[in-house]
Amino acid sequence: MDTLAAKRTLKKTYQDVRALSYAEKKDEFMNEEKVNAFLDTILDFKTKIKNETKVIYDLNEKIESLTWYSNWDEECIQMLNDLIALCKDLRSSLNRQYYNMSAIRKKGIAKVEIREFKNAINELRETYEDIESVFFFLPQIPEFKETTRKLSLI
């Protein structure tokens, strides 16, 4: 009885290994093509996120460059105020995208690229906050105004 059962199990196992071996030879689970396709998807994702990051950094620079213009009239200041509101909205959308990447990030995929993307978003926030300071808050600080006046005399 034991011998018969053993023979049956052996035969079944033999058939399973044979079938799997044949299937693997015919269609490898991790063949080169599939691995390459997987790596290409990661590379594609990395390129997309790098491009997106560069767009944000460029935008930050453009916003910063506004502080080098002077003699703003009321209309420009109002437009600037609208621009700051738009930037806040943009940051919320970008932050949502960043949080959607958390699963990828946790698996360690494109870690450096995602970190730089997050930095670009943080810098966007810093940039519009600084713009707000330059045009709306710092000029309201009497000491700051006085320092500017004194420095202009040096």
């Binding site: 620079e61 910063e64 460059s65 502080t67 080098w68 002077s70 970190r115 730089e116 997050k118 930095n119 810098e123 810093e126 940039t127 906050e129 600084d130 713009i131 300071s133 330059v134 045009f135 808050f137 710092l138 600080i141 000491e143 700051f144 320092t147 500017t148 004194k150 420095l151 202009s152 040096i154």
Partner: protein, 155 residues
Amino acid sequence: MEIYCLPEFLIEFKKLKSKKPYRSLEKDIITYFFDPKKTESLHFQSGTNLNNSITTPYIKKRLNGSGGYRFYFLLLIKDEKIYLLFVHPKSGPDGAENITDESKAELYKKVLLAIESENYLKVSCDKERNQLTFSPLLEINKIETPDEQPPRNNR
């Protein structure tokens, strides 16, 4: 361009430089502020112009992405001088968020007082050793204009 710094900047620089995550700070300062190609003040007119001034811009400049630093400096265009006021890293143990408007105003006032009292340091770069040297301005002035020798007694 002549580069100077506030004593507070030197304190912050030394503190950061002694910490492992900020070993690149000295090199980063040399690369940006002592680049031989940057011979005119125009090359430093980027970043945020905090006082919106054309002649004496008070600049905040971010360098080197996520692991980088924020530099605050004053540019005297007419005199071709830069005064480094403050540096703070974005990440690591001393990493911090943006400083407040009050702190920006305070730093700004400090540099004015430092210029008025000549209480600042000259920053030079030893290119061969890739090192920065800081010399107090009052000492430099002493060397450049030595005190008159007291009259000798010739008896």
